[in-house]
């Protein structure tokens, strides 16, 4: 069977996500190849080719030790922006659990403070 026939078309549009290598928090790939902690900023692929291109872009930053474990996941588009499909990605996008232990009420502040420049240069 030809390879092209084995690849199923996407069921839903997809975005690409990963975790920051240094801090572990959830980030989303933007169209310019940088990462955002807000899924609404993520690039959206509508077909397999676009998905492959996004994953290749993600792979470039993975090699700079900025993020780890990039993968694509299904999204729903609302007002032109990606929103997560499925509980796992809904919880990841929120940045905190659905239950809130004392002192844990918002997305971790350090997620926003983290900048690309200190990813690979920081020694501990």
């Amino acid at each position: 069977m030809a390879l092209a026939k084995q690849i199923k078309p996407l069921k839903n549009p997809v975005s690409v996500t990963a975790n920051l290598l240094l801090k572990g928090s959830t980030v989303y790939l933007k169209a310019d190849g940088t990462w955002s902690d807000d899924i609404a900023n993520s690039a959206i692929a509508h077909g397999r080719e676009q998905e492959t291109a996004l994953l290749a872009l993600a792979n470039i930053t993975e090699k700079t030790q900025y993020v780890v474990g990039a993968y694509s996941f299904d999204v729903k588009i609302i007002d032109g922006k990606a929103t997560p499909l499925g509980m796992r990605e809904i919880i990841r996008a929120k940045g905190i659990p659905t239950i809130t232990p004392d002192g844990l009420t918002s997305k971790p502040e350090w997620q926003n403070q983290f900048t690309k420049s200190n990813a690979s240069s920081q020694k501990i």
Binding site: L22, K23, T26, R88, T98, D102, P108
Partner: protein, 580 residues
């Protein structure tokens, strides 16, 4: 503020002017020597260098992952998770204060006690981990053996060294196993993880029969102490009760016999299939008779030439666990009884959260980490500090973590019990629900865990909220209810009287119910009762199950498990699904 300053400050809080400044010297537990200290220092430096090499791109994630896992570092949904070892669940007050310090400084002010008697932090940054481990080293703790395909942290009875029903204190044997197994070069890359549990009491409070090796300390007809050895227990996707391989093992041969088991497993264990790599599968595929024949063969070859613990070293380890000096006094029984009559909450607390101590006038106190509205196993840094202070004031500075995600103060004078309960009440740690339906084990589930299919914590909270009435809970009596977020079964759902397993049903969270499991000496694996329930339906299903039991039991002495074993699944099926 440094760790030492923090510990001093916490110990000097208004709570008790009698608190020791730093380390409690009298606690009966193993203390590091110079070798241990140097070993941990080297280990931290290795990890620091590995992290730096990862950040510099010299190690790929594939190369780095097994290295971080060997130090208890996982990558979860929102952040890294660091799992620390609490050998056989024993902590002293200084260590608890250090855990509080770490929760505040590097995490988000809380920690989570696990079913392996360990603690996890959910939010550390990778770059902070060497520093956290350095702080832990100061209080003789580490994260070794909390992950990876090695011999994991040995678990045991959380009441060890205190319980009236124990034959002997199992902790020295756990410590011997810990020292033998820590980074054992031959067993550093086993086919899969390997867990050993030791129990010396009549009741099994450590679920030993669900471990790769279970050691039950017994006495033979001549009154000599030894081990009954079971092999091949486990949970996960294939729950198995461990099988007996040796009726009586003389204690001097413990290590050579363990060597023989591990060697046999290391040779036969499957490395081709992750799901068939645990020893439970090896034993099943080989047959228990053949497996034990091979173990005996190897053991007979090495038992007199292989490694057995020199008597002198054994004595040194045993010395760390000599009984503390208990006070002899006449406790005021009349006053105690009147406090129970005056305070319903205290009455429940005494009934459910205390256990007979080997010393007259003392009791073992369980602190429930399942308060109303709480998250099973979670504890805030302030609560940790308070527990440390209470341990100093009322429990000879000792604390234990249990596999049911609770804490224990093992040596409390009965005369101090009421004041202790009052102090626990102030910080929401006095729930008198140990062993009752709301003493729920729940894994982190989809709220944190990268492997999860469904959430566990909100389900636990909904059930706890529904069964809010202490009178009803006490009427239901002894019931275990455990919730896992996936088939890995970290919350031991298979062995709960009522087990709940979160599954993914076409993208939706669904909850499958098992009935009839037991993790005690009468071990049994729960059976699926029927199709799963949605998150909205599951509380109603549990209510139905408890109603069937209440209506069907012969009297209130018949426990849920006894009723289930007598009546079988049919009454539950009928009520849940309207089928005969």
């Amino acid at each position: 503020m440094s760790l030492q300053q923090s510990i001093q400050q916490a110990a000097q809080k208004e709570y008790s002017p009698t608190a020791p400044a730093i380390a409690p010297k009298n606690v009966q537990m193993y203390k590091y020597d110079q070798f241990d200290d140097e070993f941990i220092t080297q280990r931290i430096e290795q990890l620091r260098s590995q992290i730096n090499r990862r950040l510099a791109g010299e190690l790929s994630e594939d190369e780095f992952k097994p290295l971080r896992l060997q130090n208890g570092v996982y990558l979860q949904l929102h952040a890294y998770m660091l799992r620390l070892a609490i050998p056989y669940g024993q902590l002293n007050s200084t260590q608890m204060r250090a855990l509080a310090y770490i929760a505040r400084k590097y995490d988000k002010g809380f920690g989570h006690f696990t079913t392996r008697q360990n603690i996890q932090y959910n939010w550390p940054a990778l770059s902070d981990i060497p520093e956290i481990l350095e702080d832990l080293q100061k209080v003789e703790m580490h994260a070794i053996q909390t992950s990876g395909n090695c011999i994991r942290n040995t678990t045991s009875d959380p009441f060890a060294g205190a319980a009236a029903d124990e034959l002997t204190d199992p902790r020295p044997w756990c410590e011997i196993i810990r020292q033998w197994s820590t980074l054992h070069p031959e067993f550093a890359f086993l086919p899969r993880k390997f867990k050993i549990a030791v129990n010396a009491a009549e009741q099994d409070r450590a679920a030993i029969l669900y471990h790769d090796v279970a050691l039950q300390i017994i006495e033979n007809d001549q009154g000599e102490m030894g081990f009954k050895v079971y092999v091949g227990g486990g949970q996960g996707r294939t729950p198995v009760i461990a099988k007996l391989v040796r009726e009586f093992l003389e204690p001097q041969y413990l290590l050579s016999y363990l060597d023989a088991i591990l060697r046999t497993y290391n040779m036969l264990g499957r490395r081709d299939n992750l799901y068939k790599a645990r020893i439970k599968i090896t034993v099943n595929e080989t047959g228990v008779e053949e497996f034990s024949r091979l173990v005996e063969l190897e053991w007979n070859r090495i038992k007199d030439t292989g490694f057995n613990l020199p008597e002198e070293q054994k004595q040194t380890i045993f010395k760390h666990f000599e009984l503390p000096e208990f006070e002899t006094y006449q406790y005021d029984a009349a006053k105690f009884e009147s406090k129970k009559t005056e305070n319903n909450g205290f009455d429940y607390f005494v009934k459910n959260n205390t256990f007979a101590h080997k010393q007259d006038g003392y009791t073992i106190v369980s602190i429930s980490l399942k308060p109303h509205g709480g998250i099973p196993g979670d504890i805030s840094a302030d609560q940790m500090d308070l527990v440390a202070q209470l341990a100093d004031d009322y429990s000879l500075s000792e604390i234990r973590a249990t596999h049911r995600q609770n804490l224990v103060l093992p040596h409390v004078k009965l005369d101090d019990l009421f004041i202790l309960w009052q102090k626990l009440t102030k910080v929401n740690l006095a729930a008198g629900n140990i062993g009752l339906l709301t003493d729920i084990i729940a894994c982190p589930g989809l709220d944190y865990c990268a492997l999860a299919n469904a959430r566990s914590i909100p389900i636990a909270q909904m059930i706890a909220e529904h069964f809010d009435d202490m009178k009803k809970l006490n009427d239901l009596g002894d019931i275990t209810l455990n919730i896992s977020g996936c088939i890995n079964a970290c919350a031991h759902h298979h062995v709960a009287n009522i087990g709940i397993l979160g599954v993914d049903k076409k993208g939706e969270e669904s909850y499958q119910v098992t009935l009839g499991g037991s993790s005690r000496s009468d071990a049994d694996i729960g059976k699926i009762v029927g199709p799963g329930f949605s998150g909205d339906e599951i509380v109603g299903a549990i209510e139905t199950i408890t109603n069937v039991y209440l209506a069907g039991r012969t009297n209130s002495d018949e426990t849920f498990l006894e009723y289930y074993r007598r009546a079988g699944q049919n009454p539950f099926k009928e009520a849940l699904y309207n089928v005969a």
